[in-house]
């Protein structure tokens, strides 16, 4: 059934024959398709935006979504201090921007992002960014004022993935304790670095589990310093233990050596081949787990990209539903009258139940909770909303800001419980207001419709392109 919703939604729909994204580090064509869809919808919403707040809001939300999709992914390098995070960053960048030492030194997070020219920028705690000349950043830099260092590099990789090197946790020397949550807010996945010779300690497990759960299926556990385990059997043993003990915590486990001179990600396969033929040390990295790590990382990037895209598509769909509901033409007026009447009765029953002094029994409470939840979903039914006044809308919002089951549980607390009593009072009042509002809405519905030709016109305009196709 062609409708407004599908018209708004259709640009986001993924064609059934999704192309394979193996090892490509993400599906740019597809993402581009999603973004094109976003733009098309915004164009369609543009003429409505001036007259309809909901259309304007939707357009804004879609633009934000579009912007978010245009941004590169962000990977956070996490782990305790001296676990090879900075070496890994250097390895990924093929640059010597941040040289690791035996002692922990990165006290401030460093964000590597794309820039036409190499640049350096200090971000203060109040968000102010200050460009500085290279060479002025000393290892001891940090303190309260600098929240982050941004390093701009003209590397193609950074267009796709920004790298955030986070100071090591558990380091008493620099007093960096736990990993602050805000640091990983904008990251899509993490590489948790742990030294292969002393891998996955209790403190690491605690720190990782304290971070948002969403990172777990997207992130990699990276055992570094693999070269310190000289026997392959030893490496296998450690890998087996890590896989076993971190099951469910990571997407995968990789083991690499970051101490060999790194191969730049910028190197093409041909260059790599050339380097190999010349016996360059890049080969060593490649042999030392680099190959497996590389493909694992690419898969992870692809997965993170797909996850971001899926979540963006979900959001777009929700925005479309929301907007469509607000712009849809009203339903048949008889049906509406029936619905409003039903609601009114329910609200009355509700108010009665709440003002009654007797403590409700368990079955009554369960029924009550059910009613509340049904009511909540009905209240959002598109089409009737315009008939409910602001008070009614507020009452509904207040009533259903609580999760119905929690509400029922609270009400079911001890009789004489002050909170329950108070809550009941508030709910009863709201229900009464709701009854009044619904009465008014019914009256409005019964009266001959003379209004909102404008609205009808807008809907007609909206529906036309859909019926045309």
């Amino acid at each position: 059934m062609p409708n407004l919703f599908s018209w708004l939604w259709q640009p986001f729909q993924r064609p059934d024959n999704t192309p394979s994204r193996e090892g490509s580090g993400g599906s740019e064509p597809e993402e581009a398709a999603l973004q094109a869809g976003l733009r098309l919808t915004r164009e369609r919403l543009a003429p409505l935006a001036a007259s309809h707040a909901s259309a304007a809001a939707a357009s804004r939300a879609l633009r934000k979504l579009d912007e978010r999709l245009s941004r590169p992914l962000r990977v956070a390098l996490l782990g305790e201090f001296n676990t090879g995070k900075s070496s890994l960053a250097r390895l990924l960048l093929g640059s010597t921007m941040s040289a690791p030492d035996v002692l922990p030194e990165t006290a401030v997070p460093v964000l590597f992002r794309y820039a036409e020219q190499p640049s350096l920028c200090l971000v203060s705690s109040d968000g102010e960014r200050r460009a500085v000349a290279a060479g002025t950043v000393t290892p001891g830099l940090g303190g309260e004022s600098v929240r982050m260092i941004e390093v701009g590099l003209p590397l193609g990789l950074l267009r796709r993935v920004e790298i955030l090197d986070v100071p090591g946790a558990a380091n008493p020397a620099s007093r960096t304790g736990e990993i602050p949550l805000h640091i990983v807010r904008d990251t899509h996945f993490a590489l948790w670095c742990t030294p292969a010779t002393q891998a996955w300690k209790g403190s690491e497990q605690r720190a990782w589990l304290a971070l948002p759960q969403r990172l777990r299926p997207a992130s990699l556990l990276v055992a570094t310093h693999m070269d310190l385990l000289r026997e392959q059997t030893d490496r296998d043993k450690v890998m087996n233990r890590l896989r076993r003990e971190t099951r469910g915590y990571f997407r995968d486990v990789a083991m690499i050596s970051t101490t060999q001179r790194a191969m730049s990600i910028e190197q093409s396969a041909a260059e790599r081949e050339e380097a190999r033929r010349q016996g360059a040390s890049t080969d060593l990295w490649y042999a030392n787990g680099g190959r497996a790590f590389w493909s694992g990382l690419m898969d992870t990037v692809a997965a993170a990209r797909a996850a971001r895209e899926e979540s963006a598509a979900r959001v777009a769909r929700r925005i479309a539903a929301w907007t469509a509901a607000r712009l849809s033409p009203p339903q048949d007026s008889d049906q509406r009258a029936v619905i409003l009447d039903l609601w009114r009765k329910q609200a009355e029953a509700l108010a009665r139940a709440l003002t009654g002094n007797a403590a409700p029994d368990e079955a009554a409470l369960a029924g009550f909770a059910d009613e509340l939840s049904r009511f909540a979903s009905n209240a959002l039914k598109p089409g009737l909303e315009p008939y409910l006044g602001r008070e009614a809308a507020n009452a509904i919002a207040m009533l259903f800001s609580c999760e119905p089951r929690a509400l029922a549980r609270t009400l079911g607390g001890r009789s004489g419980d002050a909170t329950a009593q108070r809550l009941k009072g508030v709910l009863a009042q709201l229900s009464e207001e709701l009854v009044e509002a619904l009465d008014a809405a019914q009256t409005q519905l019964a009266a001959p419709r003379n209004g909102s030709p404008e609205l009808r016109h807008v809907f007609d305009g909206l529906l036309q392109p859909e019926t045309a196709t």
């Binding site: 305790e80 201090f81 001296n82 676990t83 030492d101 035996v102 002692l103 946790a169 558990a170 380091n171 008493p172 020397a173 304790g177 030294p195 010779t197 002393q198 891998a199 996955w200 300690k201 209790g202 403190s203 690491e204 497990q205 605690r206 589990l209 304290a210 310093h225 310190l228 385990l229 030893d234 043993k237 450690v238 087996n240 233990r241 076993r244 003990e245 469910g248 101490t259 929690a406 549980r409 609270t410 079911g412 607390g413 001890r414 419980d417 002050a418 909170t419 329950a420």
Partner: protein, 732 residues
């Protein structure tokens, strides 16, 4: 002095031999003291001699225990192997491997000199451990009843299944039993103390870790080498293990050692967990700690500059975290030491040019010495670089500073007092005999006898006074302790109650504010810290009062003795609590409570249906229920330790005085008998000058020997003094 230069001094001192001897200072001091004791015993009379003999035996039974602690995979077992000169004895692996606390006993009194003994859990312990998963899931059950956490249960289930697979279905029969072996080979040890492979196909009879799941303790016995005196080295499972069960095992084992070696890794020197461990030890006033930064062979930069930087940084952090603490730091590599000790390894191959550079920097190798020297020399160089000799010398010093040193000091004081009283008694007998022989008249002799008997009576009187005084003092001190403990208990309870109210207010507020389950949790750390501080404060305060009482008692006691033994040389310095290795046990505090559970448990709890009031009430109940036993245990531990102090210190203090009195009384009795004999002889005929002369000669020899011994004991005590002062400094 930086640790590197300490090490350099150490290495230059020629201590690069492969066969270390640890604790020679303690041994020589002990031997000297015991030798003097034996000589003193030879000139004593029987009853006093047997008392001194008891004191000597008590010191002979003294031993020292060295616990090796650190995070998982820090290289503790490798370090122990290197230290005891037995590479490959304790099994090691690339994954956490030690699962059982292992005590290596060297020439311990009353223990065999070889073989091994393994003790299994008994039925109850195993049940608690394997069914309930030790503390953690018991806690989880207390916080969120009837909730099963799948993952944790899986681990436990795997452990039970593994035990069954490894040991057969009837493994329950092994509970409470022990197994002993005449020959403790690495293979045998591996079967009992190692984690073993996780894969479940390792059910063969001799597989590593076959019995590890059910083994509670492992004891391995040796001859004395490399230690000069009886020593127990305790190897522990690593701390900071993701599986909390093993963490618990280690924390339970760290209470009672004399010396602690904390092993760190060069790659991550001193993480927050290491600091936490040091803090626990330091909080217990276990000041005899040495830090070993292991695995500098893993450093990928330059070893020389790298280890210097690391050592400096670690020293700096320790200085900042524990101001005033003297914790030596040594850098090295147990792996190098083990290679140097392993005669099948090619040491010259291990000594790379870079390592040779390090050896020259630290002085292990001469500035112009070449790598190509003899293999034996290269082994020595490698061993010196490993830091093990430096650790050994720190251990030697720390072993002296422990309880052992104190017992020696105590013995020395007893010997000194006895020697001087014996000497003075001999002198007065000589004087009496001489005057009797030189024209001893019957009336004069009778007078002397009378004096002597009167003196004996006075001595008995003073002895009774001293005893009464002791009883009164003990009673007073006990009361003092009881009062301290009562007030401590009340304070602790008040703190817990205040914390409970505070938390219940917080949870009430949070619930009404509609905070979600992620943001709220009850953090018991501040309460723990407050309780710890209170306990330590009360303990040391009470201790100080006890010592003050003792200090006041000293001149009183001396005055009592002065009357009957003029010029007595009796050292009555009050003893510090530290001398007895007495520190209040804070283990109750480290016992896990529900508030230590991970956030997800609290999220579950938060989601449970409660009203704000109910939540607040629940929290109040939880805090009280969880901490009441902790408070009770803390208070009784403080009480027990202070009681022990009264018993040990006060009784020793008074018994030294009693010893002197008894010694003098015995001499006096002899003297009285001599007078009686002389009187009888004078009545019967001429005295027997030859016998008297003989007696005088003997007594003169005794007195001379006593003088000599007194001087020698004083010199010996001089050597003990720094050890005691060291402790007294630590106490204040």
């Amino acid at each position: 002095m930086s640790p590197i230069s300490q090490q350099k001094t150490q290495l230059c001192a020629g201590e690069s031999r492969l066969d270390l001897v640890i604790g020679t200072e303690l041994k020589s001091l002990t031997e000297d003291m015991l030798g003097l004791g034996e000589r003193l015993r030879d000139i004593l009379d029987d009853s006093l001699a047997s008392r001194i003999g008891d004191a000597l035996n008590a010191v002979k039974k003294q031993h020292c225990s060295i616990a090796v602690l650190g995070q998982i995979k820090a290289g503790k077992s490798s370090f122990v192997n290197a230290l005891i000169g037995r590479p490959g004895l304790l099994p090691t692996d690339v994954n956490p491997w030690t699962a059982v606390v292992t005590r290596l006993q060297f020439a311990m009194p009353g223990q065999p000199r070889n073989g091994a003994l393994f003790t299994f859990f008994d039925e109850n312990e195993w049940h608690r451990f394997a069914q309930n998963g030790g503390g953690i899931s018991e806690l989880a059950a207390r916080l969120v009843p009837d909730h099963e956490e799948a993952r944790y249960q899986q681990n436990l289930e795997a452990m039970r299944r593994r035990a069954e697979l490894r040991l057969g279905r009837h493994y329950h029969h092994l509970f409470g039993k022990t197994r002993s072996y005449a020959d403790a080979t690495p293979e045998v040890i591996e079967r009992y103390v190692c984690l073993g492979q996780h894969i479940e196909e390792t059910s063969q009879e001799l597989a590593p870790g076959r019995y590890a799941d059910i083994t509670k303790t492992a004891d391995v016995f040796f001859e004395t080498e490399p230690f000069a005196s009886p020593v127990t080295v305790i190897d522990t499972p690593g701390t900071n293990d993701p599986l909390l069960i093993r963490d618990e095992i280690t924390m339970r084992a760290i209470e009672d050692a004399d010396v602690y070696v904390v092993v760190l890794t060069a790659q991550q020197p001193l993480t927050a967990s290491d600091i936490a461990l040091l803090r626990i030890l330091h909080g217990l006033r276990k000041s005899r700690i040495v830090v070993f930064i292991n695995r500098i062979d893993d450093l990928t930069g330059g070893v020389s500059s790298g280890s210097q930087t690391i050592a400096d940084a670690v020293q700096a952090v320790i200085g900042r975290e524990f101001p005033g603490a003297r914790i030596p730091v040594v850098v090295g590599s147990a792996s190098w030491a083990n290679s140097a000790l392993d005669m099948t390894a090619d040491a010259s191959r291990l000594l790379t040019p870079e390592l040779a550079g390090y050896a020259r920097d630290t002085g292990a190798m001469g500035p112009h010495e070449q790598i190509a020297a003899s293999p034996e020399r290269m082994r020595e160089v490698l061993f010196a670089c490993s830091g093990i000799p430096a650790i050994a010398s720190h251990l030697s010093a720390l072993m002296l500073r422990g309880t052992n040193g104190y017992w020696l000091y105590e013995l020395g004081q007893t010997l000194l007092a006895t020697a001087s009283s014996v000497t003075s008694a001999a002198r007065s007998e000589i004087a009496a005999l001489t005057s009797a022989m030189n024209g001893g008249e019957e009336p004069a002799l009778a007078k002397d006898l009378e004096n002597s008997v009167a003196h004996l009576q006075r001595l008995a009187g003073v002895a009774a006074d001293v005893e009464n005084y002791q009883i009164a003092a003990e009673k007073y001190l006990r009361q003092e302790v009881a009062e301290s403990v009562i007030s401590l208990r009340r304070t602790l309870e008040d703190h817990v109650a205040a914390f409970a109210s505070e938390q219940s207010r917080a949870v009430h507020h949070a619930w009404l504010q509609g905070e979600n389950e992620r943001t709220w949790r009850c953090n018991a750390v501040p309460l723990r810290n407050a309780l710890e501080e209170l306990v330590l404060h009360t303990f040391w305060e009470a201790g100080k009062r006890l010592i003050d009482t003792e200090r006041q008692a000293a001149p009183e006691l001396r005055k009592m003795l002065q009357d009957v033994v003029p010029g007595i040389n009796l050292q009555l310095t009050p003893t510090s609590l530290l001398n007895f290795n007495l520190t209040p046990s804070l283990t109750p505090l480290s016992r896990a409570v529900v508030f230590d559970l991970e956030d997800r448990w609290w999220q579950l709890w938060w989601r449970r249906a409660h009203s704000a009031e109910e939540k607040a009430q629940k929290i109040r109940e939880l805090v009280t229920a969880e901490f009441s036993p902790v408070v009770a245990e803390l208070a009784s531990s403080v009480e027990a330790d202070l009681e022990k102090y009264i018993l040990m210190a006060i009784r020793r203090f008074f018994s030294r005085a009693q010893n002197v009195l008894r010694g003098i009384a015995e001499k006096e009795e002899k003297l009285a008998r001599t007078y009686e004999a002389l009187l009888a002889a004078a009545a019967e005929g001429p005295p027997l000058p030859r016998e008297q002369q003989q007696r005088i000669d003997d007594l003169q020899a005794h007195a001379a020997a006593g003088d000599e011994l007194t001087d020698m004991l004083k010199a010996c005590l001089e050597r003990c003094l720094p050890l005691i002062q060291d402790q007294q400094r630590a106490a204040t």
